[in-house]
Every structure is written in C-alpha cells, then in structure tokens.
Symmetry: C2
Subunit: 339 residues, 2 copies
C-alpha cells in the first residue's frame, strides 16, 4: 500500500481521519510522503491500520513523533473538536508547521491565534467531498483536479511592508502546504480567510441549506412525489445526504456570509413566487440563472472531470512582493504555480 519513502521525504501528520483527512493520508502515502495519522476513534484506527496505514489513537505519542520529524500537522477534525486538539499541539508540538482542511477559515484562524500558534499556521481547504463521511468513505484520488484553497491572512508582513522571506517559518509552512496539495493532485487557489468564507457560503453552504429544503419539499408530496422524483430532484438534493452534524459544523461557523447568501436567495425565490402568483413571468430569473450557470461552466467545465479554464498566476515565494502576487491571484480566482 505505502510506497517506501526516502529519508528526505516530507513528513505530514494528519490529525483526524474522516473523509478528507483519511483520503489525504491515502494520497500522501501513495506519493511517497512520510505520512501518518491519529484518530480519536478506535474503530477508525483499526480500519486504517488494517488498510496498511501508519495510524495511532494516542495523540501525545503522535505529536511527539511529529515534533521529532518536523512534520507538517494537518487539522482534520470538525470545528467542535478543534480546541482540544490545538491545546495538545501547543503543549507537545508547538514548533511544527500547522494547517487545516476545514470548510471555514476565519473561525479556525481565530482559534489558532487563541492558542498562540499563528506564526507557523497556514489555513487550507480542499474543495472536494462526497455526501459520505468517515474512514470507510475515504479514497485515493479524492482531490484530483480539485481546488485547494490556501489562506494568507496571517502572513507576517514586516513594519516596512515587506513580505516574509523564503526562510521565514510561515513561508516554509506555506510552501509545505502547497507542496502537499499538489502531491494530492489538487491545484492551489490563494484567498484571505474572510473572502474564502464568503465565497463558500455562496457555492457550498447555500447549496447545502437549499438541498435540505428541496428534499423536505419533495418528501412533503408523499409517495407519488417521491416516485416521480428523477434526476433534477436527485441532483438538487444530493448533499442533503450529508450527515447533519457536518452540515451544521459548516453553516453554524459561517453565519455572516451564509446569512447574506440566504437573504439574496430568499429574495429571488420570493420574487419568483410573486411573479407566478400574479400571472407574471419568471423570465428574468431563468435568464439570469442560465447565464450564471454558463459562466460557471466556462470556468469549471460542465461535468466533473472536465478541463477547467481558470487563469494561472506565477508566484515567487520569498520575493519582496510575493504576498501581493497571492492577492492578485485571489482576485482573479486563479490557480498558482510556484517559480
């Protein structure tokens, strides 16, 4: 299962082996990284070990090992479990580079700051997932072609405005996170935490709330409606099959951005309702929605796996203006390549 890693293979320690953390462990092990992990639940440790992975249920042990390896730590647990994990890291492995894979970025950065770990922290979020969860759902290749957001809010900008040097611990962590994302087959798009959170409110958390709503609406139609439901209902409600506590963890930690997106959605639907009730037309909504979907398809392709059409920006880590290069890429929604 594991490729034998070379002595200078990067070390990555993944804390939490659910769908995202577990799939990442599979990918990094396959890519020859010195990759290992921890999970709280014994059954996950057993299952991952049985699949040939280097996994433990002892948090202190794994953190001591990560400190010795100078491993990059990956926070792979949902928000509610974050504080206890950060407390252990601050105690046992405070010098390790630190990243996360959580679907909201500002609240994670706030918790990291509260534990005094921000100097080596670079937030991350792979835009990949299924409606399944847990080790049993993990797979090699989950991140293939996916966007991995890497946040640069807390880049240590000097008093004269200079960007951090190539040898700055933050830069080193940033580089390690980008390398890890690339090794997992993802492309990297940089973003500030707040901008990321507002964007995912629109393109992930809003779809989740709406999917729950449509699922309930169909179900209220009883057996006949459920029997008639076909692909438009199936696709519209797919993510309503996500474990409720995971949806809550996303939405309840991104209130501001999601409230804004929900207000807009309610207004559009309410307007359609009024137009239909008064004998009017939904021409505006259908034409605007069609155009919007067209812009998405132009950027991301029409089906999963299509070639994408995102711009690509070069970034020179350590150069005086390299953080500004990240800002420019963020504004364009661009992937980055490292020079």
């Amino acid at each position: 299962m594991n490729v034998k890693n070379s002595p200078d293979a990067p070390s990555v320690c993944i804390l939490g082996l659910g769908l995202i953390g577990g799939s990442l462990l599979r990918d990094l092990a396959a890519a020859g990284f010195n990759a290992y992990g921890w999970n709280r639940s014994e059954s996950t440790v057993r299952a991952a070990t049985a699949d040939g992975y280097d996994v433990t249920g002892n948090l202190e042990d794994v953190l001591v090992r990560a400190r010795e390896d100078n491993a990059l730590l990956v926070l792979g647990v949902p928000m509610p479990a974050l504080d206890s994990l950060l407390e252990a890291i601050a105690e046992h492995a405070p010098e390790c580079g630190l990243t996360d894979v959580t679907s909201v970025k500002a609240p994670v950065l706030e918790r990291v700051r509260a534990h005094g770990l921000e100097a080596r922290f670079v937030g991350g979020h792979p835009m990949a997932g299924t409606a399944d969860s847990g080790w049993k759902a993990t797979m090699h290749g989950l991140f293939d072609g996916a966007v991995w957001v890497v946040a640069h809010d807390n880049a240590p900008i000097g008093s004269a405005g200079q960007a951090p040097s190539r040898t700055n611990p933050w830069t080193k962590t940033w580089h390690a996170v980008v390398d890890m994302a690339h090794a997992a087959g993802a492309v990297v798009v940089p973003a500030h935490a707040k901008n990321h959170d507002r964007a995912v409110a629109r393109i992930s958390h809003l779809p989740h709330i709406v999917a729950e709503t449509v699922a309930i609406g169909g179900d209220l139609g009883g057996p006949l409606a459920l029997s008639l439901a076909a692909s438009s209902f199936r696709d519209a409600t797919r993510v309503a099959g996500t474990e409720p506590h995971l949806v809550r963890a996303m939405c309840e930690n991104n209130r501001e951005g999601l409230v804004e997106a929900l207000d807009e959605a309610v207004e559009l639907i309410r307007q359609a309702r009024e137009d239909l009730a008064s004998g009017g037309s939904v021409r505006g909504l259908t034409e605007d929605g069609f155009a919007a979907r067209g812009r998405f398809e132009a950027r991301a392709g029409r089906s999963k796996g299509d070639a994408t059409n995102r711009p690509i920006f070069n970034v020179h880590p350590g150069k005086p203006r390299w953080i500004s290069q990240l800002d420019a890429a963020e504004q364009a929604g661009a992937e980055i390549t490292i020079i």
Copy 2:
C-alpha cells in the same frame, strides 16, 4: 437504424422532435414500431432524416398519414405551441388516439378539451430529461428505467359508475400509451393531472427555480467563488443550464402547485436564516432534510441507475373496477403491470 417493422407493428406519430419527442422516436423505431414524426423546423427535419428517421416538416401530410394508420399521436411540443397543433389534429386526424409528453398535465387536458379531443386523449409525462434540448440532444435509452406518468382524469366513467370497457376508445388509447412507455423502457405510474402537477411542482419545478437561484448566488461571488465552486454547486445548479424558455414553459403553466412549494421553501430558508443570524442552530432543518433524502433514496435508489423500490400494482384494463385500481396505485406511487 430502424428495425424493419412488421405489418401489425403499432403506429406512433410524434409531433415535435425535441429532446423528449426525438428520443422517443429513436426508441420506438428501435423497438420495431411504425414510428414517424413531424417537426416545424427544417433543420431538425434534415438532421433527423440524415440520422435515418422517417420525419417530415409537413403537418397536414403527417396527420393524414396517421389517420390512415390509426396511429397514436404524441404531442411533443411545449405548451405555447399546443393550440395550433390541436387545431390541426381536430381538422385532419380527430379519430386518432392522442397523448402528450408535457411536464404539466392539467393545462394540457384543458386545451385538449377546448378542441373537443378528450374522448381519445390520455395525458402522459416521462420523468426524464437532461439540461439539453433539441434533436442534437436526443438519445436512445433516455427513458430507460424512468417513470412515465399516465393520467386518467378523463376516463369515461358511466352513469352507473362503471369503468370504460376494454373496447372503449379511451381504454384503447390508454393501453397504447402504456405499451409505448414500456417499449421505451419506462415504467408507468398512474396519476390524476392535478396530483401529478402538484407532485412535479415539488420534485421538478421547485428544483429548477432553486437551481437558478443558487447559480445566481454563486455568480454574484465573482471569480473567486466560481473558481472554488465544486460538486455541491455543480449538482445544485445543473438544471439552471436548461434553456430559459423551457423552464418558463414548465413553471408558468404550473403556478398553483409551484407557488405552494415555493412558499414552503421560502419559509424553511427564512427560518434557517433567522436561526443562523440569532446564533441558533439549523439542527431541525439538517435532520429533516437528511431524513427526507433518505426516504427518497429508499424509493429511487441513491444514484441514477440504481434499482428502485417502488411498489408494483396489477391493473386489469376493462374490468369493472380498473380505474379504481389506478387510483390505488396513484396513492401508493406504484408502478403498474397490466394483466
């Protein structure tokens, strides 16, 4: 392309060769039916003819032929084009059995009645489609495993309450429609027009309005949001890629049912918005949505092509209580088999 049809092969004349009508022509020709069609647009006639199908642009000619063949006529045009077609049918082929494939049933029945054609009319609606339209989108197998709703509102019930006999023209048309649906690979679920329309408001037209809304919401997030959009956004907005005029034709002809579904949806989303804004939880919505999706999956399977778990009811056309058998199947959302 065409299987050579036997002298007693059923004759079906499809009027309008878009995604549904055109795909049906492909399936019926492959099944050995004497299947032919008409389309208003010359380019569609050319393309379908080039693909080996028996297609004309002359409406009067095709109706005269259908009358001679005693063909089942299939109305395959959107609502706005219906009246002129019904007028031509009333003039040239009033004795033919008549059905349709439109996504709303009550307004079509009303137009059919207005043209005096209800004695041989049996409404239908295959629950299949893609976001594409026109002959170029047609395909063999589109209806494979799909539900084909067959409506029985206007079954001619006698003054003593007796169901129509096996030789009644309405029963014959009903049988021909069911046979056609089965030949196309579909399963038949009976429903009254109004119940069908309320159900599809929930499981098709609501998803369309919501998909337009989510597409617009994501697009308003600009390049960063569109770059981060992944599978939850892709699936949630897929049907926003449907031609706007087709979405309007569905929604604007199903106002009553759709307004009811939209009112419920707005209330659920507004409640989630309030809960999030006030620091509360979306537990109720996520748990209800998860349970609803589970009930859908239990009935229809999780992915397209999964085995379904709908009940199956026997129906004995021409028997005294056979229309009541259809009512019972409708209430259960059951497929029917004909004995």
